[in-house]
Amino acid sequence: MDYVPATAHLSAALTSTQVEVTSSYHGETIVLYGAVFSPRDQPCDVVVVVRGPEQPIRIARKVQVAGLWLNHRPAVFQGAPGFYTVSSARPLKAIAAPGVLQRLGIGIEHLSFQTPEAKPAKPPLKLGPRLVGIHGRDYQDYRQAVVRLKQAERLYDQNEAGVAFVDKGLFRAQIALPSSAPIGLYEAKIYLFQSGHPIQVRRRMLNVQKVGLERAVYVFAHSRPWTYGIIAVLFAVATGYGAAVIFRRS
């Protein structure tokens, strides 16, 4: 007699775990495949969450002063991912209750952004960022603006048709990385839901990194910045001189 697991079971893999950012890079589409083994044919839901490296976000509100549109002091949010997508086969609220989703951090509205207020206060510099208290009236405005602007850049996305079942139990998800998506380590979490509860989760890592010339230039610029600057200037002067010499002869 074959052993039949009592509960549903999930497995998943990325078609590639490395994204190489070369000089011809202009974004990439990541494909994730997976299978759900559901012995009793209970209905299951798959939710794929891809989270990019954390990036502090600086955002300013525009205000009109004497006819000019100026930026208010920028607010800083910590802990927000530089890239975030949630893919599912149907609306999230049909899959699980908001409390469950919030606890797992699934969904753009459940992303946690921290403001510097939560940290030990810095010396009250005039130059410091604007403080937006987490309970303040402003907070929701700022938070919604971050999400809205990130969505416009295709860096945050929530796709309710992003997971497609290609065959019984076999699913596929596509995640589009725009070229402005940050460099670094990405984490894909694949959740299996059954009757509104997460019953299993798989974690897969994805490394987006510069290679070749792109990497060499970037590393040089950050490890020896002054030498890099001097070489940039020497290169410019030499090219200018070279062109002057070539054009004199012709």
Binding site: A60, R73, V146, A236, G240, Y241, G242, A243
Partner: protein, 307 residues
């Protein structure tokens, strides 16, 4: 053919960048200006972060100005002593400018200051140049003699201490005005990402009364030094110089600058100045008037560099 820029971290069209370098280089060689004021708006429009655009194009200005200076230098049209004094001021100004720009970015006001600088300086200078060159053209068409340039130099130029002889320009004046002008141009160079030729050339003609023969070459010489310092400071302090971006602009730029320097002898000076004045005015208005228009979104994300 798109190329991914390692520092700017965006993908842009490479031939378009070379063409942009070529056009700006041509204008640079033709008028003796850096041309940075034309390039920054286009680069930002292409999606390159403003901080990277400003820093990388400073490097491009070094190359296209160097290319032109060698051409002008052979004709003896560079006053190296005057250029050196201007550049000494320029170095002080660009150090102040790069630091000031960092503070403005922390405050989130960099965009506004850049926009207002473009509107003010390009608007005023473009307007003055347009009025002056149109009236010169009208006088010539009516067959009237050219207005004699007032040769009387302002008295304060002679009253100041620290006088120095500038044999190439046939001047004997205090070093303080050129130092001050140089410093002012250095600040602009860091804040607007420009060489500052559009301020320097009129200042040398109308304030210092440098002869027309040496104005353009000397201005370019000063621009090389100031933009070289800006490039090194931006790379060292902010890591915002993108060598791949700068190289593409430079390849177009040096060729354009040579063609421009050659073409300059084939056009009439007044007509050239009218064209330049119109370009300067349009860019100034396009960059500057944005701050009067209500934004589509009341919030704006600020790139996290320079923290």
């Amino acid at each position: 053919m798109d190329i991914y820029l390692p520092i700017a971290e965006v993908s842009v069209n490479a031939p378009l960048l070379v063409a942009l370098g070529l056009i700006v280089g041509f204008i640079s060689g033709l008028f003796g200006i850096g041309g940075g004021f034309l390039m920054a708006p286009v680069l930002v429009f292409m999606g390159i972060p403003p901080a990277v655009a400003v820093a990388s194009q400073a490097n491009h200005v070094v190359a296209s100005s160097a290319s032109s200076v060698f051409a002008y230098g052979r004709r003896g049209a560079v006053d190296f002593r005057m250029g050196g004094v201007l550049a000494a001021g320029g170095i002080v100004g660009s150090v102040l400018g790069v630091e000031g720009f960092r503070i403005l970015r922390v405050l989130g006001q960099a965009d506004l200051v850049v926009a207002l600088s473009y509107l003010t300086f390009l608007g005023v200078i473009g307007g003055l140049m347009l009025v002056e060159s149109v009236s010169a053209l009208q006088r010539r068409k009516r067959g009237q003699p050219m207005a004699e340039p007032k040769d009387r130099r302002p008295a304060w130029l002679y009253g100041l201490p620290l006088k120095l002889r500038f044999p190439r320009s046939r001047l004997y004046i205090s070093v303080l005005p050129p130092l001050g002008i140089g410093a002012f141009v250095g600040v602009l160079s860091a804040v607007m990402g420009v060489g500052g030729g559009f301020v320097l050339v009129p200042a040398m003609i109308y304030l210092l009364r440098v002869p027309a023969r040496t104005v353009v070459g000397t201005s370019l010489f000063q621009i090389i030094i100031t933009t070289a310092v800006v490039t090194i400071l931006q790379a060292g302090r902010n890591q915002t110089v993108d060598l791949v971006l700068a190289s593409l602009l430079i390849f177009g730029g040096v060729v354009g600058a040579q063609l421009g320097a050659r073409a300059s002898s084939r056009f009439r000076a007044e007509e050239l100045r009218i064209v330049l004045a119109v370009i300067v005015l349009l860019v100034g208005l396009q960059m500057g008037l944005g701050v009067f228009v209500a934004p589509k979104d009341p919030f704006v994300l600020i790139s996290g560099l320079g923290q």
